[in-house]
Symmetry: C2
Subunit: 346 residues, 2 copies
Amino acid sequence: MNSSQQNQQIVLAEHPSGVPTLDTFNIEDIAMPTMQADDEVDKVIIKSLYVSVDPGMRGFMDKGHDDAAGNKFQLNQPITSRSVAQVIDSQDAKFKAGDIVHGRFAWQRYQSVSSKDIEKVDATLAPISTAVSMLGVPGLAAYFGLLEVGDIEAGETVVVSGAAGSVGSIASQIAKIKGCKVIGIAGSDQKIAYLKNELGVDKAINYKTTDDMAAAIQEACPQGVDVFFDNVGGETFDAVLVNLNRHGRIAVCGQIAEYNQEQPPIGPRPMHTLIKKSARMQGFVVFDYSEDFAEAKKQIAQWYNDGKIRYKEHLIEGFDQLPAAFIGLFSGENIGKLMVKVAEAD
Amino acid sequence: MNSSQQNQQIVLAEHPSGVPTLDTFNIEDIAMPTMQADDEVDKVIIKSLYVSVDPGMRGFMDKGHDDAAGNKFQLNQPITSRSVAQVIDSQDAKFKAGDIVHGRFAWQRYQSVSSKDIEKVDATLAPISTAVSMLGVPGLAAYFGLLEVGDIEAGETVVVSGAAGSVGSIASQIAKIKGCKVIGIAGSDQKIAYLKNELGVDKAINYKTTDDMAAAIQEACPQGVDVFFDNVGGETFDAVLVNLNRHGRIAVCGQIAEYNQEQPPIGPRPMHTLIKKSARMQGFVVFDYSEDFAEAKKQIAQWYNDGKIRYKEHLIEGFDQLPAAFIGLFSGENIGKLMVKVAEAD
């Protein structure tokens, strides 16, 4: 370990109202981690390399008690997110200095973690950063959301919202691989071009320049919508719902439209439509399918290496850019997975 | 056929706004049906005996074009609903005078129907009126909604709204038979007593006298709610949703709270909660499961004959009472299946 390096962390300075600002976070100098003896667990010291910022983290920043999973960020405690790191030192023989690992780590340049909380990255599958993008939660959410929750079949029409984002871009391509007609919804001309030209969707709709989304979806989906993979929620959801076919399925993956709202958003109740269409709407988190992660990663990597899946990372450089990167998620600028490169692997 | 009998029909006089009134309907004298030759189909002349009135019919009274299934009632044309009738005359050898049949028939005392549109009632299973109640759409909705959509398991906590109604009363009892803890929600003290004393639910909550439904459900369901069988929608839905367990399921069967609203109702969007709980919300109509009707009817009849299911019919006498009976559905007075007895079987 290069002990001349100053260690730093980023903590939650205050619970944000609405969209977080730089004041939500505080960056602090801290001591380098040391390898302390612990009877219970083997420790590993790691250096952060790639840190993921995800819309779903917004919910963990609120005050509140509905947190059986222990996900809420505490004031003056470091933010955590999925990250790729490198092992500096290890008490566990399964890990050695230089190994690339991933897990949910603190926003710290260096930290000490339990060896139970890290997993090795298989660098033969794809670039190591993909362990928190294409082969991490976003890619797995796309995979299980479409194949298990959405239960897509060849020939069906699939609509993906947030289609240029980290999850949506993979979902759009998996639906194409499976023989579906794919309509992507996104919010800029640049994203629409990316969807059409690089991801190969059948149609792409810019919701920011479309007055009547329900009519636009109807026009793009003359056979109706069989599966809706929803990363967005809000009025986009409403516009797709009216076009849903009988026995349609909605995989509810994310709801970025509402994460920064102070009150639970209100909108048209979907229940009556679900009855009329014998339709299913199902929320999920990837960890519902953790037993099948290895197989899914192998499949996604295979598609990637066969050139059937393209993947774009939107990399921002520098540990101190983490707050700005997170805030930027909600302005809808990123194409592909937004993450921060903190350091090079040694 | 007793041709001295005056035939009558009830037609849709106007599209109602909000709750239908007597002006919504018109009762008319019409000629008795005659057995006309038809190359295409065999005709059967039937006499109506028991006519079902169902909340879901309200949607068919609106103007509108979203009616792929051809369910909408037309102005000055007879209302139709599930009915039990007796065969008077038949061109099809499979039916003979005196047979009891059921189907979706016009609100007419006597009518001519295609023999393809009628089905014999097996009077050995249960009283013939149950062909449109316990062994008809309401009972089948309870059966498939709980077992297929809700996928209940022994030991789970099941909440049923509209629990004293035609569907809810059967659903509550099937959930008990399957070893679940059952909480019934209804809107009068008389219904609460019925649920507790006759149907044997574990707890019953009167939503009309309960200020904080979410708290009342939490208290009644200390282990949370695994399955919600929803006949009602609206604020009752919201109160149950916050108590739903991880991997909870909502079988969306009816939404009587909204059938008379002019505009699609708005309410808190449920999507974020579905994600946090990996929960599923699924609409259905019984005809999704028509291949399994025979087996389901046999099972329900078996439970009934074993004394495991009690069934209450709220019978109103007289063909001319059909409009008032239908309107009465929305005042929430009926316990059990509301239907109109038009005539005795010969």
